[in-house]
């Protein structure tokens, strides 16, 4: 199963406080361990929300709001994608993460949907549409 591991933002990450030498080394070693365990599919760190834009969609209306955004705890500072055997295994690997910020950090582990999870409601037509979209995205990224 694939999971997204989401590191929530903090006052520190939102203030763009750069990690020190020690944390960088520890994170490097942690990422290395994830690679050697064969579970790492990818991951990135995000700039603070002061660099972000938010699109608010309400029916036909589209409104753009510039960052920074107030609700720090709801923002994310980075993510990984892992391929693991179970949620238990994901939890174990997340436990080994070095503390990403000096204070309190929340890390959410979210299983990723696969087509099978949608069951009957996910018709072949919808599925084909989703795949086309995914293909477009992959092409644009390359």
């Amino acid at each position: 199963m694939r999971v997204m591991v989401i590191v929530k933002a903090s006052a520190e990450s939102e203030a763009s406080v750069m990690p020190g030498e020690e944390l960088l080394t520890a994170m490097g070693a942690y990422n290395e361990a994830l690679m050697q365990a064969g579970i790492m599919l990818g991951g990135e760190g995000l700039k603070p929300s002061s660099a972000a834009k938010r699109m608010i969609i309400a029916g036909d209306e589209r409104r753009v709001v510039d960052g920074p955004f107030a609700e720090t705890k709801e923002l994310i500072a980075g993510f990984w994608m892992w391929e693991v055997k179970s949620m238990d295994e994901a939890v174990e690997w997340a436990r080994r993460m070095p503390s990403p910020q000096s204070g309190h950090t929340e890390v959410d582990i979210r299983p990723i949907f696969s087509a099978e999870d949608f069951g009957e409601a996910f018709t072949p037509e919808l599925q084909a549409q989703e795949e086309r979209m995914r293909e477009e995205l992959a092409k644009r990224g390359s």
Partner: protein, 426 residues
């Protein structure tokens, strides 16, 4: 099992490959290393419910296992005063853990589990057990043998390693690269076991693909300079990207040309193409896995069969024939030629192969010949070949597909009922 016990077990499972790899370094005995690792789990199950899971569970488990091993060794050494055991005590007590690269212990375990002295079956079983964390029961189900057979296979493999006194040091440089083919063979075999398991009744078998991919990623991280490791990873990622389109809802196989390409897993293809680029950067000339991955990539990049760069595929097959000398590869090359230059050119090559000794009654060759004849409009000959292929194959699903194909070529003809489970049900 209580939630605490479950958490302890999963913590142990995550550490197990490194733990066993480290213990093998000390004990020089895979069976003993595994036993000690389990003893460490038992100690953890006693202590951790009170203390909580330690900050560094791997180091904790290693210390517990080492102390347990040291006690036993001191006892044995006192009784027997054997030189080897006294040496082992010294090794246990003096070797600092910190001096050893963590990745080394995992690589050591892979190399031992895939040691060329073992049969391929034994290598596969030991690798999945020690590195994939599969239980004997899961292994037996995955490889469709009795649990006792699988248990025997593992015991015998461990004994072979001990008796042959295989060195437990991780080789470097050329010596390390020389060991790679035996490892890659095992990983690809595990992948194919999962890939061709279409039954779906037991999820253990398709899950083997994920196990193999994971082993491939592990190896790519541990031996990043070995081009073929990346080549194999690329090949597996690209093949796995077609997983959900290669079998129809009724369980019958769907040929590449008939697959819905929009449903391929394009993120997996991206990972595959990235791995292929890493392989091509490191290799000169390209090895067999990298070449196969490059061929798979031609299909992955093409929007349709018609839009495929068949001449590039032919060139890659030329190189692959040279590297492998395999007649099956030559047959695949003939198909690529037929796509690039037309069925006539393909048929000529296939006929030459059919007259050779290796593939005379190979079902796939007969099928290919039948399809080429069909493309040339020689329908009765084509149908005769497909019938011959259906009689030669041992795969029930494939036989049904061939009969369906014969019917599609000439719906008015009356064919014998394929009779599932009849004479051919090997």
């Amino acid at each position: 099992m209580s939630p605490v016990q479950r958490a302890i077990e999963s913590a142990w499972r995550v550490e197990a490959p490194r733990l066993i790899g480290g213990l093998v370094r000390l004990t020089r005995d895979v069976g003993r290393a595994e036993d000690l690792a389990h003893e460490a789990l038992v100690i953890a199950l006693e202590r951790w419910p009170e203390t909580g899971i330690p900050h560094n569970p791997g180091a904790w488990l290693m210390t517990a296992a080492r102390n347990r091993g040291l006690d036993a060794l001191r006892h044995d050494a006192r009784v027997a005063e054997k030189h080897a055991e006294i040496q082992a005590v010294a090794r246990f007590s003096t070797e600092p853990d910190e001096a050893i690269e963590v990745g080394d212990d995992r690589l050591r375990l892979i190399l031992i589990a895939c040691h060329p002295i073992l049969s391929v079956d034994a290598r596969v079983a030991l690798t999945l057990r020690l590195l994939g964390g599969l239980t004997t029961d899961e292994l037996a189900r995955a490889f469709l043998v009795a649990e006792s057979t699988m248990a025997q296979r593992i015991v015998r493999a461990k004994r072979t390693l001990t008796e042959a006194r295989v060195p437990f040091e991780v080789p470097t440089g050329t010596a390390l690269h020389d060991r790679m083919p035996a490892v890659l063979e095992v990983i690809y075999l595990i992948f194919n076991e999962g890939y061709w398991a279409t039954s779906g009744a037991d999820v253990v078998r398709p899950a083997l693909c994920a196990d193999a991919l994971r082993l491939g990623r592990t190896l790519a991280a541990l031996v990043p300079l070995a081009a073929e490791v990346h080549g194999l990873l690329a090949l597996m990622e690209i093949q796995a990207s077609r997983m959900r389109t290669r079998v129809a809802a009724d369980g019958s196989p769907v040929l590449l040309q008939d697959q819905n390409r929009a449903r391929w897993d394009h993120l997996a293809i991206r990972r595959g193409l990235d791995a292929l680029a890493r392989a091509e950067k490191r290799a000169q000339p390209l090895g067999p896995y990298t070449l196969q991955a490059a061929i798979a990539a031609c299909h992955a990049r093409a929007r349709s069969t018609e839009a495929t760069d068949w001449w590039r595929i032919v060139a890659l097959y030329d190189a692959l024939v040279e590297v492998t000398g395999s007649p099956v590869v030559a047959l695949n090359r003939a198909v690529a030629v037929s796509m690039a230059a037309g069925p006539e050119a393909g048929l000529e090559l296939v006929d030459a192969l059919a007259n050779g000794p290796a593939l005379q009654s190979y079902p796939l060759l007969i099928t290919v010949r039948g399809e080429l004849l069909a493309r040339l409009g020689r329908i009765p000959e084509a149908r005769a070949e497909l019938r011959r292929a259906a009689a030669a194959t041992t795969h029930l699903r494939e036989r049904e597909r061939l009969y369906a194909r014969m019917h599609a070529l000439d719906p008015s003809a009356v064919d014998p009922d394929p009779m599932p489970g009849g004479d051919f049900s090997a």
